[in-house]
Amino acid sequence: MAGTFELEVATPDRLLVREQVTDAEAPGRNGYLGILPDHAPLLTELAPGILTYTTAGGKRSVVVGGGWMEVLPTGVRVLATVAENPNEIDLKRAEAALDRAERRLKESGEMDIPRALAAAERARARVAAAAQFGR
């Protein structure tokens, strides 16, 4: 039983999480990956999705809108471009954003496809998190 490691989640405008956790699961660019204590050093880009982790107080989660994760011997750092607690999500706004992004993808044309795709991905993650963890 190796115990815990420190998880930090930061965005450009705040430090969202800094806690001792026993495990974490992050939305890597190539699929979700689980981190346990004493994981080998690892670097990955993150896709929009839900980051879950277990503290002494139970399971928690935050929504990240993409970013990077660095696993170090001393702990795990998540640098997210955007991140929110599930209870901060405005479900209506997220659904509207998802709707808008999907419509743009269908119309495509002169639209910036990668940008619309990324927006859709972010909105989907938010909606999923809000649905999963309620208000």
Partner: protein
């Protein structure tokens, strides 16, 4: 000799000024609190990103694909450079604006043989360098009222693109770092090529993506975040500097009022004494 009325007028005018300086101090204090929170919240991300970038770049230093990345390339000779000067839009903030302007100018003069262009954030910096006939490549205003990440990111994208295209060989930023309410320190930092922190230990990473792919997405973000943090530091410093300056001005006004009141009383007393003498000497002449 000024008359009593002149003194009263002067006191009233100083009092009016004092009310304004007091109000400005209060407003700055309120804005300072918010700006201070913002900068403190932004520092961890900037620090962590810098460290992560350093770690990856060191671990992948050998690879040719990494050396090809435009934002990491060191130019052999720096001929043209951009100085991003972050100042305030408004004055009355003590030495805040002249501090950053003079510091940036001094730094530029020290770099012999380098032609600088100014990318100005804040009106005061633009005005200063325009008067001194520097070439100004960009002028951005209204950042400090409520800093917006997207605005700063646009400036970052512009200088990154110019650097990558080879138009300029280096990018620096000059701003007032927020140390505390009483102290703000001028900082001139190199933004591009991205300076990598020296450290002896390199970690062997497992890469989910190739290092050059990671770096290619991290580097532009790093430039954005560096500028973003600088803007927030500068905003907090601006409010702190203005608050201190307005506090000093209010105190000075109190002193002036005290001094003028004393003078006024002396003049009044002198005229009363003179009248009494007149009355007494008039009475004694009748005897």
């Amino acid at each position: 000799m000024p008359s009593l009325i002149d003194f009263r007028r002067r006191i009233r005018s100083v009092k009016n000024t004092q009310q304004i300086t007091k109000a400005m101090k209060m407003v700055s204090a309120a804005k300072l609190r918010r700006a201070q929170e913002a900068v403190l919240a932004a520092r961890p991300f900037a620090n962590m990103l810098g460290q992560m970038l350093g770690n990856v770049a060191r671990a992948a230093a050998g690879s040719d694909a990494v050396k090809e990345l435009p934002l990491l390339q060191q130019r052999e000779s720096v001929k043209k450079a951009v100085m991003v000067v972050i100042s305030a839009d408004r004055g009355l903030a003590g030495a805040f604006n002249s501090n950053v302007n003079r510091g940036a100018q001094k730094f530029m003069q020290e770099q012999a043989g380098v032609t600088f262009e100014i990318e100005s954030i804040g009106k005061k910096g633009r005005d200063y360098f325009r008067r001194r006939a520097f070439s100004i490549s960009g002028d951005h205003q209204n950042f400090s009222r409520k800093p917006v990440y997207a605005d700063v990111a646009a400036v970052a994208a512009k200088v990154s693109q110019r650097y990558a295209a080879g138009e300029v060989d280096a990018v620096y930023v000059a701003y007032n770092e927020f140390k505390s309410v009483m102290t703000q320190r001028l900082q001139v930092e190199q933004v591009l090529p991205v300076p990598l922190a020296e450290s002896a230990d390199t970690t062997e990473y497992i890469y989910e993506q190739p290092a050059e792919v990671l770096l290619a997405s991290l580097l532009p973000r790093y430039v954005e975040v560096e500028l973003w943090r600088s803007v927030l530091e500068s905003t907090a410093s601006e409010h702190a500097a203005r608050m201190t300056a307005m506090d000093a001005a209010s105190r000075n006004a109190s002193e002036v009022i005290e001094r003028v009141t004393l003078q006024m009383n002396r003049v009044r007393q002198a005229s009363i004494t003179r009248e009494i003498i007149e009355v007494v000497s008039g009475a004694s002449a009748l005897k």
